[in-house]
């Protein structure tokens, strides 16, 4: 085993990879813990090798950046500087007086836990999709925009033959292009933001020509595939008996309300819908890290307010792969310096800091431009299921906030069970807050994923109880 300080990186997407490579190159032993079978995260999601995809890069841009990250990881793993624990699902990061222990369930069964001891932790857990409900959104054939993209990138499976892509956010265009390129008919791209929303931000947007060019490329691709773009429109309902057969879309008025009389029915067998992204903050919150809005608060070096814990990428705020790479690199350099009791050299990551500043500014603008319709809750019928895990309809949430007097999301949850099920409110949290008229706050989830009580108790899941109640999950140091 190599000597030197040990870093645990949670998440092998762009931020986690960039940090792991930067730190490992400077003598830090790194254990990279990730839930997927292959490194890359959602952005560089890889098709399973068995599928024998010939040109996976057709679905990706920045393929050369990925090749550089992948080759760097392979080299460091070969030299024993990075241990890559794939298919490991982190359920808790424990802060201790002399460091940290990362607890992860080994997949896919997730019945046994391993413990990784480390001197420092980088949280690069990324983000997850926000989806707001509408009548029919639980029909088979309605998928999240990111889910459709994951199916395309991971399995190369075409989710359906005629798709509508709807919601809001920069993810919709690449998803529509990906579907069209893979051979699906994309009947429409329905985006609730309109040209007017962009007008006030022309200067910030113009400062990012590469980003604008990227958008223009997608727009050209959509035009080439004859995809109708319906800006300032929203999906009012999805229809079908056993699966989605059509959607009704409508124009929005200046206040963000559905414009009566503009409803149009579009036949489709797939609806890919998304309303933006939210940061994954469960592990950070259980460690006691401060949040800043929906994301983990970090300083210039990507340090959280808990000593020894860094955060980078979309767990600190939604901003895409390029920003994640910059933040990851800064974090990795900071960690390498700090673990050796040095201050990072100012010049060592100047370019990354410059990129970070500009991209954060750009995505702050996108965040205000791409917003769901202001009055989206008006389209949600009383019998629309809002919390799918616990099957809680909108009427129950409205009753809790009305007759029963709940004034905050937590009380609504306790009264209705919305958000108490398997996904722990990741799917319905923003919807419940909107319907109850409360401010959305990420709920605290001490376990980042469900953990067997036998694992918690320190006994093996499948064996009968013994007298030992000590922590007995096996220890995997960052060795090679």
């Amino acid at each position: 085993m190599a000597e030197g300080p040990h870093l645990a990186v949670v998440g092998a997407g762009p931020a986690g990879l960039a940090a792991a490579l930067a730190a490992a190159a400077r003598g830090v032993r790194v254990t990279l813990v990730d839930s997927a079978a292959e490194a890359g995260g959602q952005f560089y999601r890889q098709p399973a090798a068995a599928l024998g995809a010939r040109r996976p890069q057709a679905l990706h841009h920045q393929w050369r950046t990925w090749e550089r990250l992948r080759d760097g990881l392979t080299a460091h793993v070969a030299r024993g500087r990075i241990t890559h624990l794939s298919d490991h699902h982190v359920w808790f990061v424990e802060g201790q007086s002399d460091g940290f222990t990362v607890h992860a369930l080994r997949g896919p069964e997730q019945e046994q836990s391993v413990a990784v001891r480390a001197d420092a932790v980088l949280l690069a857990t990324g983000g997850y999709e926000k989806v707001l409900p509408f009548p029919g959104w639980t029909l088979p054939g309605v998928v999240t925009a990111g889910g459709a993209q994951a199916m395309l990138k991971g399995g190369l499976v075409l989710p359906g033959r005629t798709a509508v892509v709807a919601g809001t956010g920069p993810l919709l265009m690449p998803v529509a292009v990906g579907l069209a390129a893979a051979g699906a008919g994309v009947a429409a791209l329905v985006e609730s933001a309109g040209a007017r929303d962009f007008a006030g931000h022309a200067r910030t947007l113009a400062a990012h020509p590469a980003k604008l060019a990227e958008g223009a490329r997608y727009a050209a691709e959509l035009a080439r595939h004859r995809v109708r773009i319906k800006a300032h429109h929203t999906v009012v309902a999805a229809h079908g008996s056993n699966r989605v057969e059509a959607v009704t879309v409508a124009a929005l008025d200046g206040d963000g309300r559905v414009w009566p009389g503009t409803e149009r029915r579009i036949a489709c067998d797939t609806l890919a819908v998304g309303h933006g992204m939210l940061p994954h903050t469960d592990l950070a919150e259980a460690l006691g890290c401060r949040l800043d809005g929906p994301g983990v608060a970090v300083d210039d070096e990507q340090r959280t307010d808990v000593p020894g814990v860094w955060a980078a990428g979309e767990t600190t705020g939604i901003g895409g792969a390029v920003l994640s790479l910059a933040e990851g690199r800064i974090a990795g350099l900071s960690i390498a310096a700090r673990l050796n009791s040095r201050t990072p050299e100012a010049g060592s990551y100047e370019a990354a800091v410059k990129a970070r500043t500009g991209l954060r500014e750009f995505f702050a603008v996108l965040d205000t431009v791409y917003a769901p319709p202001a009055h989206w809750t008006e389209q949600v019928a009383d019998d629309t299921v809002v919390c799918r895990c616990e099957e809680v309809p909108a009427s129950a949430i409205r009753e809790a906030a009305g007759e029963l007097g709940a004034g905050d999301v937590r009380t609504v949850k306790l009264l209705t069970r919305a958000g108490m099920g398997w996904c722990q409110g990741r799917m319905c949290g923003p919807a419940v807050a909107g319907l109850a008229g409360c401010e959305f706050q990420p709920s605290r989830r001490p376990f980042a994923r469900p953990v067997p009580l036998g694992v918690l108790a320190g006994t093996d899941f499948d064996r009968h109880h013994t007298d030992s109640t000590d922590s007995t999950d096996s220890t995997e140091e960052g060795s090679s």
Binding site: L404, G405, A457
Partner: protein, 342 residues
Amino acid sequence: MSDKEPGPELELALLSGRLWGELAGEPGIAAAVEYDLKGGLVVASSAEGLVALEGLADGQRAVGVEAVAVGAGQLHDIEPKLAKGLAGGVLYPQDAQVMPTLAAAHVVRLARAAGASLRTGCAVTEVLRTGAGAVRGVRTSEGEIHAPAVVNAAGTWGGELAALAGTSLPVLPRRGFVLVTEPLPPRTVRHKVYAADYVADVASDSAALQTSPVVEGTAAGPVLIGASRERVGFDRSFSLPVARALAAGATRLFPFLEGVRAMRGYLGFRPYMPDHLPAIGPDARVPGLFHACGHEGAGIGLATGTGHLIAQVLTGKTSDPDLDLDLDLSPFRPDRFPEEGL
């Protein structure tokens, strides 16, 4: 009922249990608040533990608690998934369960229907008093509310409200964690089941961490696993060692839980009083101030009796000076603690 030794708190529990039963008898309420007269089952793992448990049960029976001895051979007839090899237990059929948030919301709804008003997000910043020292209302973040009587039902924060009224009440936070499992089929765990050492933990004065397993199912399916007690102030950080101890205790009672997943956990702060009795009734030091707090972990169970007695005292003040209360309040006197005892 089952976790209380004979004394004033057990009498309050008997009164409260009866009142919960009456409330649950109102149309629609039992289902709305998930009222379930499921019974409590206390189990002992050793012969000595069983002797102590039966001694406690004898005392409880003497004051009117139903307590049925259950031999080792019958334990699995009434609670099929219990661990093997337990020495025996006592079944308490009067132990009931409600879903606390729903119960509170529906009691508030009934109170509003009867003319009460509820102001949420409204913090009391001062207790207003006359020149002679009597209470005349409260100042809040949204203006003053004038009334000749103020009831301190601030739970763990009851001491702070007492201080605003110029007096003292030694309420301290006693932290507890609960683990919540994935939903299980109905009646997988039929009773509120706990180990006999729980009673000793509840009665303990120690500030250090204590855990003793308490396992109960819920109407919605998840099983709740307690109970930990520690006095660490208002520290809200999640403790993995406590979660591990809870899981270990619960899987000892119910080995099948080893393969069941904990979905989430939550923590709360029980209002701990040095003598383990709540403060209920008028505060002789501040005329017009009444206390109804400091119930530690039993606040929901004892809420009906507490509210009933406070109402009796309050209405008695104006209509019936020769008031005959349903329970002697002297053991719960709020001014029973020495002033320096904080």
